[in-house]
């Protein structure tokens, strides 16, 4: 069948398809292949010298251990928070669900480095917020977040929404008969939860855990802000320090390190696969999802508890961030006399680097979003409507750069673009284009997924009707399909924009003077001790993020369910 579908394609269609195949290969397979080659043949000559020296270096193994400790700790915390909240949201009759989901998922959309910065403003002796409340610890006290525990806490908070989202999707697909059958058999609600619901939720839970594991492993912002000051290095920060300290000379070495991260991430993904293959979790009936558990008298206390959680993980840190951004210098308590907008003034109008960063981040994110949508609409067309084995592999290839930690892609991009491009003779290294390349490669799948679910909702005969009317593929894509998948494509573009806008991992490794992103500037402000400027800039990015998220609510009704993570 797949063969005949491919045969049925002619001329123009085939050109377009091969164009997309080549593009995806360049974005995903080329970088990873280049990275692996560098590991085997550093600098072009086959040798095991670099691998040997990296693997025998005790710093490597300290970083691996630290990475595993923080990643596993963060994952456990995220799973505990995420699954409890998912059960409440999906299974009970709590009120104001939409608002709650929006707030709970927000930390996922806020940049990790902003989360880190915000939390630092709540706990340290110089915290403007604590000083305002008179709760600040005495000067000289170490900020308790500069530690492995601090990293674990923030990773857990950052990625709890990931577990929440996968689990909620699973719970939604759970037919109510399965629960009712358990209740009818005389089991109590908690017994049903323990013996029926949770076992059936193993696949989404495991998927959520894997996602959380890989994301925590690749996270750079949180260990950079919390670990580097305490000299507690994980793999991404180790790579960053090596590269920042010594420049491209150490490329082969960091290539080995990032392959190492890649391998650990893959191990997590494969483990997930193995765990799920052992048992049969298939759900056989299809019917509407249930919200079977009435909380009754527990409703108000539960709601208070859940909103308390939001207060703790969202409101308090953001308040700390806001407070710091409003004081004239770090350590000054915030009150009516000291409050000032000077920091905002400075980062928006005076500081050349941060002004450039606004332009760069906006430009990069918008361009990446645009390019990704333009690629995703035809790509999803083939993936969803012309299924074949080759296309399944293509889909997998498109997922890879996002599934693997960002440093992996960044180092691979350096390897590819360090030398001028063959034939063209242009060098992308140290330009903004190398960041752009990585953004498109890494976030392609974020745009692709919503567009693909848009296609799944579309009746294929709408396209076929245009086909018999004589319209060629490109024309059908532009006049029929694009308008119909436009809401999903817009959602995809927004997801790409928001993610790229808040991005730090890739740009921290790839930026050059004049090509800073907002994440990089926040990071360097904080590293230079200018926490107030860092806070002001971070508040601005949060405002942009929030505004864009809220804007999506205007057209959310036209979207397939589950496309926007922050919508219930």
């Amino acid at each position: 069948m797949s063969g005949s579908a491919a045969k049925a394609m002619r001329g123009g269609d085939l050109t377009l398809l091969w164009g997309l195949v080549v593009l995806v290969a360049i974005l995903s397979i080329l970088p990873l292949a280049r990275l692996v080659i560098e590991g085997i043949a550093p600098g072009g000559a086959v040798s095991s010298g670099v691998i040997g020296s990296v693997l025998s270096d005790p710093t490597t193994w300290t970083a691996v251990r630290n990475s595993l400790v923080t990643t596993l700790g963060g994952t456990v915390l995220a799973v505990v928070i995420g699954s409890i909240v998912a059960c409440f949201v999906a299974l009970t009759d709590m009120r104001a669900r939409n608002a709650f989901v929006f707030c709970f998922v927000l930390p996922l959309m806020i940049a990790p480095q902003v989360t880190a910065l915000a939390w630092l403003q709540v706990t340290g002796p110089s915290s403007a917020l604590l000083k305002m409340l008179g709760l600040a610890p005495p000067l000289g006290t170490r900020n308790p977040l500069y530690s492995a525990e601090g990293i674990i806490l923030l990773l857990g908070i950052q990625y709890a929404p990931l577990v929440f989202l996968t689990l909620r999707a699973g719970l939604r697909a759970l037919p109510k008969e399965l629960i009712e059958a358990g209740l009818a058999a005389g089991a109590g609600k908690l017994t049903v939860l323990r013996t029926i619901i949770l076992p059936l939720m193993t696949p989404p839970l495991v998927a959520g855990i894997a996602l959380c594991f890989v994301s925590s492993l690749g996270n750079f912002g949180i260990p950079a802000f919390l670990g580097i000051p305490a000299n507690y290095l994980v793999l991404p920060t180790l790579i960053y320090q090596r590269l920042a300290g010594l420049g491209p000379g150490v490329l082969s070495e960091v290539a080995v390190l990032s392959t190492l991260i890649g391998v650990i991430a893959m191990a997590g993904i494969i483990l997930q696969d193995v765990m799920l293959r052992r048992r049969d979790f298939r759900i056989t009936t299809t019917s509407t999802a249930a919200r079977p558990f009435e909380l009754r008298g527990w409703r108000l206390p539960s709601e208070i508890l859940l909103w308390g959680l939001v207060l703790l993980i969202l409101v308090v840190p953001l308040a700390g961030l806001l407070a710091t951004s409003l004081v004239p210098s770090y350590g000054v308590p915030l009150n009516a006399a000291t409050a000032t907008f000077e920091n905002y003034d400075y980062v928006m109008f005076d500081h050349a680097g941060s002004r450039r960063a606004f332009a760069n981040s906006f430009g990069l994110s918008a361009a990446a979003a645009l390019v990704i949508v333009v690629v995703s609409v035809p790509l999803a067309y083939f993936l969803v409507w012309r299924r074949s084995r080759m296309l399944r592999l293509l889909n997998l290839a498109a997922e890879l750069p996002y599934a693997l930690p960002g440093v992996v892609l960044a180092i691979a991009a350096i390897l590819i673009f360090l030398k001028p491009l063959p034939v063209l003779g242009i060098s992308l290294y140290n330009t903004i284009w190398i960041i752009f390349f990585c953004y498109v490669a890494r976030f392609l799948v974020l745009g692709l997924r919503p567009v693909a679910s848009g296609y799944h909702q579309l009746d294929r005969t709408l396209e076929e009707a245009a086909q018999v009317a004589g319209a060629g593929l490109i024309r059908r894509l532009v006049t029929i399909i694009l308008p119909l998948v436009a809401p999903a494509a817009t959602a995809g573009a927004l997801l790409v924009f928001l993610t790229a806008f808040n991005e730090l991992t890739v740009s921290a490794l790839l930026w050059s003077s004049g090509n800073e992103t907002l994440g990089v500037v926040v990071f360097s402000f904080e590293q230079g001790g200018d926490s107030t400027y860092a806070a002001a800039l971070a508040v601005l990015t949060v405002i942009v993020t929030l505004a864009l998220m809220l804007s999506t609510l205007l057209f959310a009704r036209k979207l397939p369910q589950g496309v926007l993570p922050w919508r219930d």
Partner: protein
């Protein structure tokens, strides 16, 4: 307008043979209905003709052009066929006018001409006042008509309709049937009309193709199909035919022959080539009646009587062969009930030609 030739076409989905060496010839200007139970491959056949799939074997020609065979495949956009989908497939983001105009735009027809033709097509289906509406605001029947107008505006040589009335209620169906018939009369376009509704097919079509499990069983005029089914499956499928074993004598040149059904002597229709021997006979409900006084009949136990307004539908099993059930209509008044024995006279029947059908 064009002739359509489907020559030994097969189509597989994995191991499943959705079309099995189907051949048919549709004449220029003919209205052909394709009839068959759900899942028998009607839509699949249509999709091969429209070019959405590639055939695995055989050949399809429109006019004299080969559009599909195992090597060649003219894509749908170059076949100049019109199609009306079961789901209508109207583009929700375009007005009725733009929906209809689309094919002309694609073909590069410029404006005064284009608007004129769109208006004409909309007038033809009685929707000229709805041009600016979005399809979402139309009723089911109106949507159906827009889909028809969209399909006809480019004057395709061949029009394919996949259960176009399946989503409409009974009244609208009748009205649309009329409209199709009138339309076909006026334009004389070659039409292939898929349906699983026998009455619809009988009412509209010049000829009917009956399909089952991917195979073409018979292609004939409605009357031939009803009076002279080619085999047992068609006989049972069309008009609820009853198939009984019979001993026949050789047929005369007019196609009449004598037969014996469970010992009852009857006069039957048959192919003039019918030889004497064992055979099967197709009986229609209207061929049967309660035997009059002195008339010979088949003794049968009444199994069920269902009142259907003015007459009863009677189901009975033969006394001599209890596994054979027959059904017939008897007028009111009728005072027998389940368990009673009646004599059933057989006035007519069609001897099924010996076939290779498995």
């Amino acid at each position: 307008m064009a002739r359509l030739t489907i020559d030994r076409v097969s189509k597989n989905f994995g191991n499943y043979r959705a079309l099995d060496t189907v051949s048919m010839e549709v004449r220029d200007g003919e209205f052909l209905a394709v009839l068959g139970p759900s899942g028998c491959g009607k839509t699949t056949l249509l999709r091969q003709v429209a070019g959405f799939d590639q055939v695995d074997d055989g050949e399809i020609r429109i006019g004299d052009t080969v559009v599909s065979d195992t090597r060649r495949h003219v894509p749908p956009e170059h076949r100049r066929v019109g199609i009306v989908f079961q789901s209508y497939a109207l583009w929700p983001h375009m007005s009725v006018f733009d929906n209809v105009a689309y094919g002309l735009k694609v073909a590069g027809v410029k404006d005064p001409e284009r608007t004129r033709r769109v208006k004409e097509a909309l007038t033809l289906v009685g929707l000229e006042t709805f041009a600016e509406r979005r399809p979402g605001l139309l009723s089911g029947g109106q949507r159906q008509r827009v889909a028809l107008a969209r399909c006809l505006v480019t004057e395709p040589s061949l029009v394919l309709l996949d259960e176009p009335l399946a989503n409409l209620d009974v009244h609208l169906r009748a009205a649309m049937e009329d409209e199709f018939a009138r339309f076909h009369e006026r334009t004389a376009t070659t039409m292939i009309y898929i349906t699983h509704d026998q009455a619809e097919a009988m009412a509209l079509a010049d000829r009917i193709a009956v399909m089952d499990r991917g195979r073409l069983l018979q292609l004939a005029t409605p009357s031939d199909l009803f009076r002279q089914p080619a085999n047992e499956t068609v006989a049972r499928f069309i008009g609820e035919g009853m198939v009984l074993p019979v001993e026949v004598g050789a047929a005369d040149s007019e196609g009449r022959c004598q037969g014996r059904i469970q010992g009852l002597e009857v006069s039957l229709r048959a192919s003039p080539l019918q030889k004497a021997g064992h055979a099967k006979v197709c009986l229609r409900a209207r061929d049967l009646a309660i035997a009059g006084p002195g008339e010979a009949g088949l003794g049968a136990h009444i199994v069920r009587t269902v009142y259907q307004g003015g007459f009863f539908r009677l189901e009975a099993s033969l006394v001599r062969a209890p596994d054979v059930t027959v059904h017939l209509e008897v007028p009111e008044p009728f005072h027998h009930g389940p368990g009673d024995i009646v004599d059933i006279a057989v006035h007519d029947g069609w001897v099924l030609p010996a076939t290779t059908e498995s």
